[in-house]
């Protein structure tokens, strides 16, 4: 019963969100229409989200390594970056930060050429064929989740059989901005994002707000119940950016950073 109520609650919330989403990005929709988007990104019946269980993360950075291998990124491109946080009690814990795929994304508003846009599955993508490299989005992002290609990406071990797309922008283009996009190219094949798959501690969950499920590869949970029962929070929630990444605290740390 409780499950049903919370599920309905989440769906109702999504409905309002979808209405708002349909209303706000009018300016981006027109230009976004010409973007090449894979069928996976056009699915409105998926709204990707992530849950990160800070109780489990041991800071091994396997997620970062897997991401860099998947996207052929240099070492300083930490699309999922693991921060070591020392709290006010003097304890420390680890906090991985992917792109939060904000519902009210500041990066999206400031882009002068609509190179960055939201796919219908809720993920914020960058069209590197469009990006002019002004880096306004990097100034706007409150989480430092965006990375600029100052130099050419490292040479690939073997050339890829397909051209780079916003869902799978590999190899990266010099002079443009890139970021985490929840590996939506992998979910099209039913695979987990590279970081989730690589996490030995099973701390990362990829989820879908529509289906209301999330999985770390081992266990599958009901997303709404999971974040509610574990008192999940969203980083800098007061900024009203509406991140789609939830953190589960649990080291006794207070949440003042």
């Amino acid at each position: 019963m409780l499950d049903k109520v919370s599920r309905r609650h989440v769906l109702a919330g999504l409905g309002t969100g979808a209405m708002a989403a349909g209303f706000v990005p009018i300016a981006f929709e027109a230009a976004g229409a010409s973007h090449p988007t894979a069928p996976s990104a056009q699915q409105k019946d998926r709204q990707w989200a992530m849950v990160i269980d800070l109780r489990k993360c041991d800071g091994c950075k396997k997620c970062t390594d897997a991401c860099q291998e998947e996207h052929q990124l240099p070492a300083n491109f930490e699309w999922i970056k693991v921060f070591q946080v020392s709290d006010k009690q003097g304890r420390s814990y680890f906090m991985p930060r992917p792109c939060f795929q904000c519902e009210n994304a500041p990066c999206l508003r400031v882009c002068p050429v609509a190179a960055t846009f939201r796919a219908q599955d809720g993920v914020v993508l960058v069209d590197q064929d469009r990006c002019i490299g002004c880096r306004m989005c990097m100034a706007a992002c409150p989480y430092g989740a965006r990375y600029f290609n100052y130099v050419d990406p490292p040479a690939a071990a073997s050339p890829l059989a397909h051209p780079a797309t916003p869902e799978f922008p590999v190899p990266q283009q010099k002079g443009t901005v890139g970021k985490c996009m929840f590996c939506v190219h992998r979910s099209a094949d039913g695979k987990l994002p590279a970081c989730v798959e690589a996490c030995n501690m099973l701390a990362l969950y990829i989820g879908d707000l529509v289906e209301d499920v999330a999985t770390n590869g081992e266990e599958t949970v009901r997303l709404s119940t999971f974040i509610k029962e574990n008192d999940a929070f969203r980083y800098k929630e007061d900024l009203n950016t509406g991140p789609r990444v939830y953190y589960i605290a649990g080291h006794g740390q207070n949440l003042e950073f």
Binding site: F28, R109, V113, A139, Y150
Partner: protein, 447 residues
């Protein structure tokens, strides 16, 4: 207006046209070398990408954005000085308006190049037209800067028309080719008829009014580039007016230096006197004090609360990593110039020039202290960034600063350095009595 005075004016304003000398060539050579160095550095950067700069994933805006704001600010002061003096009908403006308007255009041309230098993909610059998004501050900048550029060129050109006609008549036999053609065509058949005079006066009046909101809009939009983000030290409601005052302050200082330079170089002492420097110093004092007030208001309201976002930035400025440049700016770039310009007494010109140098240096430093700590501040827990500019950024910065005097010298190689027409116009019109406050500060007579 007797013919003798006219001859004198023409003589003094135009003797330099087409004339060079060892000193002129020496200065042009030094400035030209700096500009060539900047051009080399830019080509080097275009070939290799922004990786040759000191910019990084954390501090992704640096010298180029600082310089863009700085040089457009300089331009703003030139335009505003001229516009305000025209609108308040200050008679003493006549010998300096051309220099002020010229500075406005040249500095703007330099500043407007910087967004292009900063782009990761300058080849896609025109995407701004093709895919422009009205919601983006970058597009606001693009529109505001291009509008203001056109307006400031018109503002320089209109008062130049009668002088172009004078040049056309004076150099009828001697100036051939492109130069003679330029005078002839751009004088637009000016003959000084009352009908033409009326039209010109109206045109200049309209431009003097228009240029003020245009310049205000440009600098406000530049401020919003920062203020619409959630970064500490940037997300501030006072940023637009603060940027406008900063621009005027640095711009008036630049005008003081430009007129001092051309006064000495082109022997204009008879027309540009200590009085001009004192009056411009009053403008400098007012703007300096206004900036101080705005800045205190900003830091007090933000620092008193010290929110999570702005607290670390203010701490870094006041007592942390950026404390030395910050307090150097406050003392050397704001307080000291204020005292130098405000003190009564002799050597008004020298004091105005030293104060202007300090103000200009200080305002560049202040832009650095806005851009870099705002970029370097920790967004995620404790990840302060570092920024170390490379030779590429330094060479481009030096070259672009040199381009302003160089551009002005080249411009005044072809066109009169003072507005002959305007000086004749105000000739014989008595100067309004000094306001009481001004004489209280002014001390002795002209020195």
């Amino acid at each position: 207006m007797d013919a003798k005075t006219h001859e004198l004016y023409v003589d003094r304003a135009m003797w330099n046209i087409g004339k060079t000398g060892p000193l002129w060539w020496a200065i042009v050579a030094v400035l030209g070398a700096c500009v060539a160095g900047a051009a080399y550095a830019w080509i080097y950067q275009l070939q290799r990408g922004l990786g040759v700069t000191g910019l990084n994933q954390k501090v992704s805006w640096g010298f180029y954005i600082i310089n863009c704001v700085f040089f457009i600010g300089i331009s703003y002061g030139g335009a505003m000085t001229s516009a305000i003096l025209r609108l308040t009908n200050a008679k003493w403006r006549a010998p300096i308006t051309r220099l002020a308007e010229g500075t406005a255009v040249v500095a703007l041309l330099v500043g407007a190049v910087y967004p292009l230098v900063d782009l990761g993909r300058p080849d896609r610059f025109l995407y701004l037209l093709q895919y422009g998004q009205v919601g983006s501050p970058v597009l606001w900048d693009f529109v505001a800067i291009s509008t203001y550029l056109i307006a400031s060129i018109v503002f320089l050109y209109l008062p130049l028309i009668p002088d172009l006609a004078t040049c056309r008549d004076k150099y009828q036999g001697t100036a051939r080719g492109l130069r003679g053609w330029t005078y002839r065509v751009f004088a637009l058949g000016w003959s000084g008829e009352p009908r033409q005079e009326r039209a010109l006066l109206r045109g200049i009046g309209v431009m003097a009014v228009l240029i003020i909101p245009l310049a205000v809009s440009v600098h406000s939009v530049l401020a919003w580039l920062f203020a619409v983000t959630v970064r500490g030290g940037w997300h501030s409601t006072i940023f637009a007016p603060l940027f406008v005052i900063a621009a005027m302050l640095s711009g008036v200082a630049a005008v003081i230096l430009v007129i001092a330079g051309f006064r000495a170089g082109y022997g204009l002492q008879r027309f540009i006197t200590a009085r001009h420097f004192r009056y411009l110093s009053y403008l400098l004092i007012a703007l300096d004090a206004a900036y101080l007030y705005f800045m205190v208001s900003e830091y007090l309201t933000e620092g008193y609360v010290a929110e999570a976002s702005s607290g670390p930035v203010l701490e870094a400025l006041f007592v942390g990593a950026y404390a030395v440049p910050f307090w150097s700016f406050v003392v050397g770039g704001l307080l000291l110039p204020l005292v130098l310009a405000a003190l009564p007494g002799r050597r008004a010109i020298a004091r105005a020039c030293v104060a202007s140098v300090l103000v200009i240096g200080g305002m560049w430093l202040k832009r650095f202290l806005i851009v870099v700590p705002g970029m370097a501040e920790p967004l995620m827990p404790w990840d302060w960034g570092l920024y170390q500019p490379t030779w590429v950024e330094i060479a481009i910065t030096i070259g672009s600063a040199a381009a302003i005097p160089l551009g002005l010298m080249i411009f005044f190689f072809f066109f009169p350095v003072m507005s002959v027409h305007e000086m004749e116009e105000v000739e014989g019109v008595s100067e309004p009595a000094r306001p009481a406050l001004v004489s209280a500060f002014a001390g002795g007579g002209d020195d």
